[in-house]
Subunit: 245 residues, 2 copies
Amino acid sequence: MRNFKMIVEYDGTGYCGWQRQENGLSIQQVLEEIIQLITQEKVTVIGSGRTDAGVHALNQVASFRCNTRLPAETLFRGLNGLLPHDIVLKALEEVAGEFHAQHDVRGKIYVYRICNKSLRPALGRNYFWFIRHPLDLILMEKAAQYLIGTHDFSSFCATGTQVKDRTRTVTSISINSGEDGLLEISIEAQGFLKYMVRNIVGTLVEIGRGQRPPAAMKEIIDSCDRNIAGPTAPARGLYLKEVKY
Amino acid sequence: MRNFKMIVEYDGTGYCGWQRQENGLSIQQVLEEIIQLITQEKVTVIGSGRTDAGVHALNQVASFRCNTRLPAETLFRGLNGLLPHDIVLKALEEVAGEFHAQHDVRGKIYVYRICNKSLRPALGRNYFWFIRHPLDLILMEKAAQYLIGTHDFSSFCATGTQVKDRTRTVTSISINSGEDGLLEISIEAQGFLKYMVRNIVGTLVEIGRGQRPPAAMKEIIDSCDRNIAGPTAPARGLYLKEVKY
């Protein structure tokens, strides 16, 4: 059976997330249905990981196995012609049979976009978290340094998650400010827990507003208690930017 | 009676345009209803001009007369608190009684955003016109020069328009390219006809694709015939950027 790897960009606004669900349309379901339409085969699309409802992807990676005799280029263009406006394949190639989009992941980069100015914008509001209160980037950068390295990230893991080992390795965090109040927080790690980026961002924002000192970040990590960390930042500001293999 | 001037930003995606209509929700209607909610007075909101369904505004100007005793600052914050996410007041001030947002206009600047790259983006698709075919900016800039000055712009006026005098003065056009294939066409004129910017952009795109030479623009203007010009560019790429008084 042939094995295909895809790079997928999507606007998560209208979806219940990456993963197939009973009560909502997912990116995975749309991809599987459209691949079946072209290949006449029932396929399972494996993503590098889930993204939550409303979260976007610039370069999600996914793979699927299929007996189709269509060349990769034909599949690529045909699928893009059939996909809805808010999902697009940026690449599709045939890969070795052992490639697995989820198991083979070595690292991921997420970016989180914040619009930080006094007046909420009417345009583009599904693509960032609007924060009216001024954020102090220096404080946020100081706090971010505590996250780098290998830690038990239980404080930033969604409550109710079944995952037992919550140790993850964050390799870098950067905070960049652009024009018109745009802030971009970029986090690279070997793996992420559920809501981890959004919970980290929510905590960094509290620190940027001066509600807690940067050193609180260390206490929050050490506590291994979700209740000590800040709130979950909204999904609409989050983008899966890169998956490393 | 007091007279108020507002600067309004809106995402036109979900609206039937600026102007009140029987069969759709307009920006004007939303503003009038929310002003009435706060002031308990039935008001008429006068815009600097209409924008079509799906067209955005960065700085639409509108005025309304009202007997309210509320200070302008209170009105401003109260209205912003009640407006939906896709409409926001950027400013509200009390002005002299004779100010009229439509009659007093001396000029307007519209910008049109094009995303010109080989693959359609999934993100932000309500905010630009995606064009796959490479556009030659030099050709488009040459063609744009013919538009500057006072001309009969009948070739770029929506068919069926009742307006008799179709002479308008275009004071400047510029085309700027940004990152990731973004093109921004900026057009300033003392006044615009219905669909004028979108018909000009549709024609510039044909020239940029090499389907007609830049000099065709002169012939198109001279013909005063809408059928000779290019197609109407989609509404989603158009922004009312500034209104001059």
